[in-house]
């Protein structure tokens, strides 16, 4: 199954982290919050104005902008 960027997921969908782009501005922080290889991540919802996007990783809820989702590769 091919990798896709995280922003291609619809709210409610879950996928597993494959890699963070080395150029991701939040790379270190996201790893510390649990974005490591194999971790399941769920897209919870989009903000009413379309951006940012709420995610669930483990028991943590956090929001990232779509630009920053694009640099996270996931696999269903």
């Amino acid at each position: 199954m091919p990798d896709v960027p995280l922003d291609s997921l619809a709210p409610g969908q879950t996928a597993h982290v494959v890699a963070l782009d080395p150029a991701h501005p939040l790379r270190r922080r996201l790893m510390e919050l649990g974005f490591v290889r194999g971790a399941p991540v769920t897209v919870v919802r989009r903000a009413p104005l379309g951006d940012p996007v709420e995610l669930r990783i483990g028991a943590t809820l956090l929001a990232l902008r779509a630009d920053d989702l694009r640099l996270i590769r996931v696999r269903a």
Binding site: M1, H16, V18, H24, P25, L26, R27, R28, R29, L30, M31, E32, L33, G34, V36, R37, G38, A39, P40, R45, R46, A47, P48, L49, G50, D51, P52, E54, G58, A59, T60, L61, L62, A63, L64, R65, D67, D68, R75, A76
Partner: protein, 742 residues
């Protein structure tokens, strides 16, 4: 579903003998120092409040505006120094708060670490725990929020957790002070080094090589070797900078060599280390809480409403409106009480006591009492506003507000979190300046502070109202609305420009954590709000008092011969002459008279003073001197007024839900003598220009004080200068357009 395979599970490493000295130190220390470390939003503040009680001292970390909480207390016959470190997701700093936490661990020579965990989010919290354990200091764990975790369907076996981590674990519910009595026993008596993560072989070899280089170096104690080596391999820039600056450049070079070597093997230590920690954290979390099942939580149910695609934003705006109405309806009677009857009583007493010395009497009743009164009359508003703000912050809603508004703020180069200080600015600019602390990046804090004073605070409203009554009686609420909107547009326009010129965004990437909703404890709320209010009062006391006394002096010094000190008419005083001299500056704006100019000067102290000064000048009203008052009469008068204020405040609470109306305050003032005088002195165009100037011209002295405290004097005065220039230009343009149109 095929999850990519996780690397092999790491095994545990035994304690190194080299670190045993830290355990001995904890036992021997006369006043052991315990640092409290944990992720943000795990109830750390509540726990430290419960542990320290009245011994808690709150200050600032030197050089930064992050709160420092510490306490010296007696526990079971032993002195303890408890130091709360700011919330951190990891020891690789990303925010000013996290930098403090990491620096304090390295510099403050802690004897033990009390690690607070959120039982409902064990895996992520354990990441920090495992990182702490690379730093070989004695650790004890407080497993907090166990009640909330249970509601979520997560039951943590604390004994199993203790066994797996190799350190003592105490279950706590800090908000109800449950388990808090045993936490310190555990930290002082049983804290120990615990397990460690075994990283992949190549990483361990690199750590070993770097640690060997640190042996025998005095400034690098043995217990820090493993942590420093790992952090160097992770490429943490702040640790590198620190080691380079303290004469360990060779160590950094060695780390670079190791990194190159690892790179040729296709290994990225950052990824390897994070994965190893998460793999172990996940294993421990699953073993300690095996039957964790996701249940639909309160947070999810509340978010379905608070972040609803259609209802989310209207709900947020309604909530903001509610906070303001709460602030003003509940606080207003007390503001009037302090500014009116209480001040009159005090003035009466002072008149009686100083009747033998008229000059001192005039200084006290004309400058000192009104000056102090001005400061004090801010306090009820601030206290209520701070209480409401702390509630929204501590409950977790503020993070949702940032989520809702992020897209809108992005168009001017800010992120959602910046919306909160701006909104607070409508109430009062002072708490709004302090609210910029919640922003992560320094450039954001500075930028938002600089545009904040354009948000029309509640003190400017009376000026709009009285001018609207005088010049635009039929469009009063439209005029008030236009002023608020103009202020906001100017603020956003400057955000847009300053972002591209003076304060470029540092880095990119916005990450908002949406913490679980919690009901904040009354104790913590009150402490937050009270501390902020008191700090305002302390600061304002000096600046406002000095400025009021200065204006009084200028009004008292005669500038013509024949008049005597303190009895001179305003236009013949030094104040009048200075205003006269300054007035040509405002001629192009349509109000180049000494009266209009003069009223702007005290407006620098507090915007609500503008209306009073206009009255004094245009109506020739001498500040009425209340009659001298006996002690008993004064007490009776003050007591009665206080009771009236309490009644008015309580009975106003039901009205906060009524529909708001911006011109509610205007009705009483429609035909005042001042409005009549203003209608004669100003044309609609010059009146409009005057209002625009008052809206934009300069933050009040209390806000300037807050700006100076947060960002330095230079920044504060720069803000004043650029706002004056902006106000002049905007008023000039408005005058030109209005004269052509009206």
């Amino acid at each position: 579903m095929t999850a990519p395979a996780v690397t092999r599970p790491p095994t545990l490493i035994p304690d190194e003998a080299a670190c045993a000295d830290t355990l001995a130190r904890l036992k021997a220390a006369r006043e052991p120092r315990v640092v409290v470390v944990g992720n943000p939003n795990v109830g750390k503040t509540t726990l430290i409040n419960a542990l320290a009680g009245t011994n808690l001292k709150v200050g600032n970390w030197s050089g930064v505006t992050v709160e420092k909480r510490e306490a010296h207390l007696n526990h079971a016959g032993r002195r303890v120094h408890l130091l709360d470190l700011p919330g951190a997701y990891s020891l690789s700093p990303h925010t000013p708060e996290e930098l403090i936490t990491r620096t304090a661990l390295l510099d403050e020579a802690p004897d033990a670490v009390l690690n607070v965990l959120d039982a409902g989010n064990l895996e992520r919290n354990l990441y920090l725990t495992l990182q702490l354990m690379d730093y070989r200091l004695p650790v004890a764990v407080a497993l907090n929020l166990v009640d909330e975790a249970r509601e979520k369907g997560v039951q943590v076996d604390s004994r199993a957790l203790s066994r797996l981590l190799g350190v003592p674990v105490v279950e706590t519910v800090a908000s109800r002070a449950r388990g808090t009595d045993t936490v310190l026993d555990s930290a002082l008596g049983h804290a120990t080094l615990g397990i460690g993560v075994r990283y992949p072989e190549a990483i361990e070899r690199a750590v070993e090589a770097l640690s060997t280089r640190m042996v025998g170096v005095d400034t690098l104690p043995p217990h820090a070797h493993r942590y420093l080596a790992l952090t160097l391999l992770e490429g943490d820039p702040s640790v590198r900078g620190r080691l380079n600056a303290t004469g360990h450049a060779a160590l950094v070079q060695a780390a670079n060599a190791q990194l190159l070597e690892l790179d040729t093997q296709g290994l990225d230590p950052l990824i390897e280390i994070a994965e190893a920690r998460y793999a172990l954290a996940g294993d421990i979390a699953r073993a300690a809480a095996p039957q964790a099942q996701a249940r639909r939580t309160v947070t999810e149910r509340l978010d379905a409403l608070a972040l609803h695609p259609w209802l989310g934003i209207p709900l947020f705006l309604a909530l903001v409106l509610l906070v303001f109405r709460l602030t003003f309806t509940v606080a207003a009677p007390f503001v009037d009480l302090i500014g009116g009857p209480l001040q009159d009583t005090l003035t009466g007493w002072a008149s009686a006591a100083l009747s033998w010395f008229p000059l001192a009497r005039d200084l006290v009743t004309g400058a000192i009492i009104p000056g102090v009164g001005t400061v004090l009359s801010f306090l009820p508003t601030l206290l209520v506003l701070y209480l409401a703000m702390s509630f929204l912050e501590d409950s977790g809603y503020m993070a949702r507000a940032a989520f809702l508004m992020d897209r809108a703020m992005r168009s001017v180069g800010l992120d959602g979190r910046a919306f909160i200080p701006l909104i607070l600015g409508f109430g009062c600019n002072v708490p709004a300046v302090y609210a910029t602390r919640t922003l992560e990046r320094r450039s954001d804090r500075l930028l938002v502070s600089m545009i904040l004073p354009f948000m029309s605070c509640s003190a400017r409203l009376p000026v709009y109202v009285v001018f609207a009554a005088a010049l635009f009686p039929r469009q009063a609420s439209l005029l008030v609305w236009a002023m608020y909107t103009l202020g906001m547009l100017v603020a956003l326009a400057f955000a847009f420009v300053l972002r591209r010129t003076s304060y470029p965004a540092e880095g990119s990437g916005v990450l908002l954590e949406l913490p679980p909703y919690r009901f904040p404890t009354a104790q913590v709320l009150w402490k937050h709000a009270w501390r902020r209010t008191a700090s305002f009062a302390r600061r304002a006391r000096t600046t406002v008092l000095a400025t009021v006394a200065g204006v009084w002096l200028l009004l008292a010094i005669p500038a013509v011969s024949g008049a005597s000190f303190a009895t001179v008419a305003p236009q013949d005083s030094l104040f009048g002459r200075v205003s006269q001299a300054m007035s040509p500056i405002f001629a192009p704006l349509g109000f180049g008279t000494w009266q209009a100019t003069g009223a702007l000067v005290p407006g620098f102290i507090a915007k609500e003073v503008v209306v009073g000064t206009l009255g004094q000048i245009y109506l020739g009203e001498q500040a009425a001197r209340p009659a001298a008052l006996g002690l008993v009469d004064g007490v009776v008068q003050a007591g009665r007024a206080t009771w009236d204020a309490v009644v008015a405040s309580v009975s106003a609470i039901p009205t906060i839900l009524a529909l708001p109306s911006l011109n509610a305050d205007a009705t009483g003032d429609l035909n005042t003598p001042l409005a009549t005088a203003l209608a004669r002195a100003f044309t609609p165009a010059s009146g409009l220009s005057y209002l625009v100037f008052v809206l934009l011209y300069t933050p009040c002295i209390a806000t300037v004080g807050a700006l100076a405290q947060e960002h330095g004097r230079r920044f504060a005065w720069t803000t004043v200068a650029y706002q004056l220039a902006t106000a002049w230009v905007a008023a000039f343009l408005v005058y030109l357009i209005a004269r052509a149109v009206l």
